[in-house]
Structures are given as structure tokens and as C-alpha cells.
Subunit: 293 residues, 2 copies
DNA sequence: CATGATACGTGGATTTACGCACAGATAATT
DNA sequence: AATTATCTGTGCGTAAATCCACGTATCATG
């Protein structure tokens, strides 16, 4: 049973009782309606209508088809209503993904967003692997670092995450604060395991600190933070989270070169939807508070 | 939500995951599939799929559509199965119509037909008005008299109903049997109220019997039969039913000129169906017994 | 790293399907 | 009884949908 349009045509004829009336409703010529009926009957091998000069009347098969098509028509109408309205209201699921290191920032934001739009169910997917927008795994992704340049993705800069140099209070008590670049060789540093990291402050580190003084390397940001807290050495941490921790001492103010840009990424097909737009606006508003924190 | 074919296309894309795959299944070019999706999305104002170089993945709206279309597809498949098979088996309703004067012949035949095909539900519509085949009021009509010549109707001659001249036994006792045409003016006759009746034996009557000797006229065949039984005069009755009645005496053998042809009439759209064919064949078989009765 | 396979996307040629107009027929109306 | 209105059915020309071919991008594989 291919060619669903012919079923629709037959349905309208059964409802109207005449080919001409159905043609008017469908907005096509009555010859087209006749052709559809003929084609459908030939394919099914059954007469659907009895033809007489005053119109068409459905046979048993035609009435059967009419019932099925009636249900289909209602189903499709409901579907159209759902789908059309869907884009206009903020409800359903909102799937957000990011690296799990951003959870401290995102979790409160998402909670507030859900409170603002109670019809929303938030799903926050975090992981080391990047959830891919183009396969529909998420509506919005929060990315850090260099600007993503995937095609079909809409990228907006969210805010600059300011990064500063920190060490634990105990470390400072033992080794003192470096007063300038000349002091760096006397200290130990914590950095990412990947030496040629793309992060700007690690590039700075490679340029300004001897390799052998980087005595602790880890692949995970959280592990690096814990290492710093465990007096492993001096490292770079986002200012907004580190400033809340009394066990940490800021050794140098954040430099612009060290800042990590943050990006809001959406798939182009979803970017224009009201739901996603509402979330993007909300996140940008919240991000103003992040810098102050 | 017009254009059901586009829904079908979108459904196939959602199932396959790729435009090309859907195009193969649908037997169309993949460009056509893309155009259908685009048109549907534009009409709904919602993106149904997220496009990426490895295929299409459905958005929430797309998945919603997919579910509805899935149900539709199943409904249509079942419908096609029902409708296609419907023509091949003798079941459901069989609607037969005739003038109610033929009920004595038809009722036993219909009962036997129902016994032969237990899946059949017989509906026997009788009345003075002609139920019209072209509006689907009945599958088969049994007509008597001159050959029906309606277009779109398939007419088959069933049998000749032999008509003979009868009177009641009491009438014969009182007035005797007419031995030939010369005796007719001495007798009373029963005939149809419509003087210029189309029935051949009434034409014969008008030609061979003085008008004033037709002393009882009725519009209903059954009333005429009752009048004859009530000694009203001589009249024409079908041989098969009158011969069973001991109160009637046959005054003249049936002439070929008097025979009323009987016709089986079906609408051309239904004539070829197995159900109707089975019934037509069955009636013809039964009709062989009618002459003998 | 290069290559083959797969899939999407688009402009131009082609076929299919549609609209148009007229004929045939019936039912309602005057 | 004649007429008008309505509906079906069909041949023909045109417009729209389709097919085709090419280009581009991505992923898998040796």
C-alpha cells in the first residue's frame, strides 16, 4: 500500500459522495481525483466505489478504507497540532551536554532554568567524550577552549573563564610565593599530562617554566585540582571556583592570555527553536554572575 | 496536514536513518526524498531531522511523526490485506432486492445460499419501490418483465416464468371452463388495474377479451391472486406457485407468449466479485428447479 | 596517510501527473 | 415536456515533480 495520498483522496470522495466535491475540498481538479481512485482500485484489485451519474458511493471495501482513513486523518491532525505548537512553547526535554569539569557551573544554572520553566525536564549529560549534537544526542553543548568549528553547528561565545595561578595554603607556607618569573625554577608545578596542551595557560607554562619543574601531571582537571590541594605544587585553576576555596592562595592575578573561552554550541536545526533560544538566553544571563563569583 | 505521501517519506527516513536508504525502499530518487522532507518541515515550521553527513536523525518532532506514521502504515497494511482478500471469499453481507411478489421464490433460495456459505449474512430487501443498485443499496436485484436496460448494470436472463390461466375450483363449478376464445365473453376476468400493462398476458387479454368482462382490477399481484381464489373470475398466475394450490384450476396451458422473463441484475462494479458471482451461479442452479415445481 | 565507500546536496534534463475544456448523462425545475 | 444544473469521463497541452549526474564531505581501511 504505497501512495498514501490516493487513500486520502478516496477518503474525501467517500465523505463527500461526489468526485467534484472532493476535488474542491482537496483543491485539485476532479480529473485528478478520478485518476487517484482508478489507480488505487487497480492496485488493490477491488472496486472502492460504485459510479453513477450523480456521484460515487462507497462499496464495502470503500467504507472500510474510509474508516481507516478517518482515523488516519485525525491522527495526522493531532500530530500537526502537537508538532506545530511544539516549537512555540518551552516544554519537554532539554538535553545539555558538557565536559564533566563544567558541572559546578552548569548544575545550578540548569536547576534554575528548570525552576523558571517547570514544564521542562532537564537532562544533563556529562562525560569525557564529547556528546555529538549532529546525532541528536543533545540540544545544547557547553564547550571550552578553542572555538568549535563544526559545520551545521551554531557557536556563540558565552564568557571568558578567567584562570589564575594557585597553590595550597600549606604549599605557600612551606615554599613561599614566587614574586616573579625568576622565582619559578625554585617551585614545583602541576599541569596537564599532555605537554603540548592547547590551553593557553599551559602554553605559557611551557614557555616560562623549565620542563623538569612540572613535577605532577594528570589527564583530568579534577585530579589536577586535588593535587594542588594536596600541596603538589602550583597550578592553574578557574578563578570563580578556586576563589571560593579557603585552602587555596592566588599567586598571580588572572592574565587575559590565560583566559579560556567558553562556547555555547547548538545544532543549526535546533538553534531557532523557542526552547533552545530560551535556554541560551537564560545561560547568558546566568554567566554574568559567574565572573563575579 | 495535506500530502500524506510526504509523511510516508519522512517515516521511511526516520526508520532507515539515511535519505538514500529510504529512497531505495520507496523506489524513488534520494533527491525526491530530500524535497519531501524539506517541504514537510517548511509546512510544519519545525525541523523533523537533524542533517549530518552520515545521515538523518529524527528530532523529537520527527520521532513523534514516526510513531504516528508507524501506526498508519500498519493500519494501511491491514486494510490492504482485508480489502484485497475481501474479493476472494464469500463472506460479509449479501444484499438482494426484488419486488415483494417474488418472495415465495427467493426466500427458500436465499436460505439455501446462506446454508451453503455460512459466512454470509443475507439481507433481502423487498418493496414496491425498486431498490437502486447504482447507489449501493443492493448487490443483486431480481427483476421481472421487460429487460432492464440501465447503463452500468449487468443483466442476465434467469428463466422464463410460465404463466397460465387459472380460476378457483368454486368458480369453475359455477361457470364451467371456457373451451376456447368464443367462450370468453361469457366469463369474468381478473386483471391489473393499469389497463395498458406491459405484461404480455395482459396485452393478450386486452386483445382477446372485451373490456367490460374484466370485472376485477387490482394494482397488486397478491391482491389479484386473492381475488381469483375468492371466485372473482379468471386470471393469470405463475404456474409454479398456482399449481401447488388445490383450490385453483388451470383453464389453459401456459403459452410462450405469456411467459414473463426474469432477470438477474447487478451493478457492473460488483458483478465481477467472487461473492456476487457465487450467488448468481447459485440462483441459476436453483432456478432450474423452479420450472419443475 | 591515502584511498574507497557512502551519503548529502544541487542544477539541469525528462517524464509523470495535473489542469483544462468539452462531451455525455441524469435529476430537478419550470 | 423542455430546460437547467450538476456530475462523471476523457483527450490534450502544460507545469511540476522526478530523475540524473556531478560535487562535496565524512568515515573506514590497508
Amino acid at each position: 500500500m504505497d501512495n498514501w495520498d490516493e487513500v486520502r483522496t478516496a477518503f474525501q470522495v467517500a465523505k463527500m459522495g461526489t468526485v467534484s466535491g472532493a476535488a474542491d475540498v482537496l483543491g485539485v481538479h476532479h480529473a485528478t481525483v478520478i485518476r487517484h481512485i482508478d489507480a488505487l482500485e487497480n492496485r488493490l484489485g477491488v472496486k472502492l466505489f460504485q459510479r453513477h451519474p450523480r456521484g460515487y458511493t462507497a462499496t464495502e471495501a470503500g467504507e472500510d478504507l474510509c474508516r481507516v482513513a478517518q482515523a488516519t486523518d485525525e491522527q495526522f491532525s493531532q500530530l500537526a497540532g502537537r508538532v506545530k505548537g511544539q516549537g512555540d512553547k518551552v516544554s519537554g526535554e532539554l538535553v545539555v551536554t558538557s565536559l564533566n569539569s563544567l558541572a559546578p557551573l552548569m548544575s545550578p544554572t540548569l536547576a534554575a532554568f528548570q525552576e523558571r520553566y517547570p514544564d521542562i525536564t532537564v537532562r544533563y549529560l556529562t562525560g569525557e567524550r564529547l556528546f555529538r549534537l549532529e546525532y541528536g544526542e543533545a540540544h545544547v553543548a557547553l564547550r571550552v577552549g578553542s572555538a568549535p568549528e563544526q559545520p551545521d553547528n551554531v557557536v556563540q561565545e558565552l564568557t571568558q573563564q578567567k584562570v589564575a595561578m594557585y597553590a595550597s595554603r600549606d604549599y605557600v607556607d612551606q615554599h613561599g610565593k614566587p614574586q616573579g618569573p625568576e622565582d619559578y625554577p625554585k617551585h614545583r608545578f602541576v599541569a596537564h599530562d599532555q605537554e603540548n596542551s592547547r590551553a593557553p595557560f599551559f602554553k605559557w607554562l611551557a614557555a616560562n617554566v623549565p620542563r623538569e619543574k612540572v613535577t605532577f601531571r594528570a589527564t583530568d582537571n579534577r585530579a589536577m585540582e586535588l593535587a594542588i590541594l594536596a600541596d603538589a605544587g602550583i597550578g592553574f585553576l578557574p578563578q570563580n571556583s578556586a576563589s571560593k576555596n579557603d585552602a587555596l592562595v592566588q599567586l598571580a592575578p588572572p592574565l587575559d592570555d590565560w583566559s579560556i573561552p567558553m562556547w555555547l554550541v547548538t545544532h543549526v536545526d535546533l538553534h531557532r527553536t523557542v526552547k533552545v533560544q530560551a535556554f541560551l538566553k537564560f545561560v547568558k544571563e546566568q554567566a554574568k554572575g559567574w565572573a563575579l563569583a
